[in-house]
């Protein structure tokens, strides 16, 4: 990959929560390096607590890693970069006391968009996600799927080059999730955004991603990267093709062992631990989310 094609450069990033020896110490992420290409959609997938959300937060500057560096273009990430990076969180990240439109406008105000431009951009992004008619509803009046559309509209209105999505459809039912995935693929085919998308769903990863980074069990690192060579927007019947099935099975095989390891690590405290050996001796008493 040529350096000007790299949107995000991650080098030897490790992260630990707490100090070694403490009860809540978690070695979340270990020596991860990765180049994310400009305009690609990269999915991060892995067992619970493998550090994929941690990595996402580190890329977004919400978390400073204990070791390693992240560059966005040529800028080292040392905190949020609201002009370059927008987030879509798992759920309920909209401000419930503001309408959908106010939520979108507030984001732009925080980012520093001139007042005159905000209204136009809010209208455009709400139309893009199909929520123009619900601009003056409060989040509490919308379904979970519509709230996530609104959150996506808020992120799109910021017009950043990079979009980080942390299991954005994780709390939705299967059908809503499928429709949103299809719409997202159509929507993003029209932009040249770089997207990092954390998910638990194998199907979602294959359907959306240009590349899927598979994480190992904790301490997480990227085990393998799979390329999904299929143009965007992906057609709904891509799901029924042999290619989709083969890629999904490949992911399943890669993940299965890691999920086993993650489960045995969190269940079998005191017993033998699959990998990492003594390094995991101080793991917490329950599987914790490493999300901060």
């Amino acid at each position: 990959m040529r350096s000007q094609d790299v949107a995000v450069r991650i080098r030897d990033v490790s992260h630990q929560f707490g100090e070694e020896g403490e009860a809540h110490y978690v070695n979340a992420l270990l020596g991860t390096s990765l180049d994310i290409a400009r305009g690609e959609l990269l999915c991060l997938i892995g067992p619970s607590g493998c550090g994929k959300s941690t990595l996402l937060n580190i890329i977004g500057g919400l978390l400073i890693p204990t070791a390693g560096t992240v560059h966005v273009g040529v800028t080292p990430v040392r905190g949020p970069l609201p002009r370059d990076i927008a987030f879509v969180f798992q759920e309920n990240a909209l401000f419930p006391w503001s309408t959908v439109n106010e939520n979108v406008m507030l984001g732009m105000m925080f980012q520093g968009v001139p007042r005159a431009e905000r209204e136009e951009r809010a209208r455009k992004s709400l139309t893009a996600v199909g929520l123009a008619e619900f601009a003056h509803h409060y989040p509490g009046q919308l379904s979970g799927g519509m709230r996530q559309r609104a959150a996506l509209a808020r992120a799109l209105s910021l017009e950043t080059g990079i979009l980080l999505m942390d299991e954005p459809f994780g709390a939705l039912d299967e059908q809503t999730r499928m429709i949103l995935g299809e719409d997202l693929s159509v929507l993003l085919a029209r932009t040249d955004k770089t997207i990092v998308f954390v998910t638990h769903s194998l199907g979602e990863a294959v359907f959306l991603a240009d590349r899927v980074a598979v994480f190992s069990a904790r301490p997480g690192t990227i085990k393998e990267i799979i390329t999904v060579d299929e143009p965007h927007p992906r057609k709904p019947d891509f799901v029924t093709t042999e290619k989709f099935g083969a890629l999904r099975n490949r992911l399943y095989t890669l993940l299965h062992d890691e999920i086993r390891k993650a489960v045995s690590e969190s269940a079998g405290r005191g017993g033998a631990v699959g990998d990492g050996g003594a390094a995991n001796g101080a793991a917490p008493p329950a599987p914790r989310s490493t999300r901060e």
Partner: protein, 254 residues
């Protein structure tokens, strides 16, 4: 339940409430006319009504009302500014919340009215001691609710705002404050009510003027009919203030 049923239900409960009030007034009337309760202790409701009309017409209540309302207003401003500011500052640090929240909650359960004699020694018999007492008592529900309000703000909202570039002030104005507001407003309403109650109460114990003072003065002069008229007047004032504060709270939540 259909809307028709619900309306009938509401009308019925209003009727029962009205009937209850009429029954109380009737019993009161019977007690003074038929059952020989001393008129000195319990004046006839009609006489109380006449006295109330006279109080309102003469306007003699204005001075006492002004003193009591001023005391309540000053006490409430002091406690709400102090309570919200301190609550916000404490809520910024989980450590401070862990240390001070239980401490404040413990002091809140102390009957602070017991300190009235001390306040009178410090601040005299005038309005200052009532203001100090009202401010102290109403400070606690306000500071505790402010801490609770700011602690209930969802972390994801703060993180989302930060990721979009919110400054400290923007974070406070657009995320922390609206997130905490419903709980803070409930605290302010409680604070206002306890300030009003404690100030009226302390006026009846040790004071130079005010509605509470007037009521005790009339009782000592055995002018019970006029005393009852003043009590009715104070009840009406307190009820209207309560309605106003509740309305403001509901509006503030929107």
């Amino acid at each position: 339940m259909s809307t028709g049923d619900r309306r009938r239900d509401r009308v019925l409960s209003r009727l029962v409430q009205a009937a209850f009030l009429i029954a109380v007034l009737t019993l009161w009337h019977l007690a003074t006319t038929k059952w020989g309760v001393s008129r000195l202790l319990l004046p006839n409701p009609a006489r109380v009504y006449d006295e109330l009309k006279d109080v309102l017409r003469s306007g003699e209540f204005v001075g006492d009302l002004r003193i009591t309302l001023t005391e309540v207003a000053v006490a409430f401003v002091l406690s709400s500014v102090g309570g919200v500011a301190l609550g916000f500052l404490l809520s910024r640090s989980p450590y401070l919340v862990r240390v001070f929240e239980p401490l404040l909650a413990a002091i809140y359960s102390v009957p602070i009215i017991l300190f009235l004699p001390l306040y009178v020694l410090f601040f005299g018999l005038g309005p200052a001691s009532k203001i100090a007492l009202g401010a102290t008592i109403s400070f606690f529900p306000i500071v505790l609710n402010t801490i609770a309000g700011f602690s209930t703000v969802e972390r994801v909202h703060v993180v989302a705002a930060r990721s979009m570039g919110a400054s400290d002030f923007q974070l406070f104005r657009w995320v922390l404050l609206p997130g905490a507001l419903p709980v803070i407003l409930a605290g302010l309403r409680m604070g206002f009510i306890v300030a009003l109650l404690s100030i009226l109460g302390s006026e009846t114990i040790a004071s130079l003027a005010g509605l509470g003072h007037r009521i005790v003065h009339l009782a000592e002069a055995m002018d019970t009919a006029r005393m009852f008229a003043y009590i009715a007047f104070v009840v009406a004032i307190a009820a209207s203030l309560n309605v106003i504060v509740t309305m403001l709270e509901v509006r503030g939540r929107r």
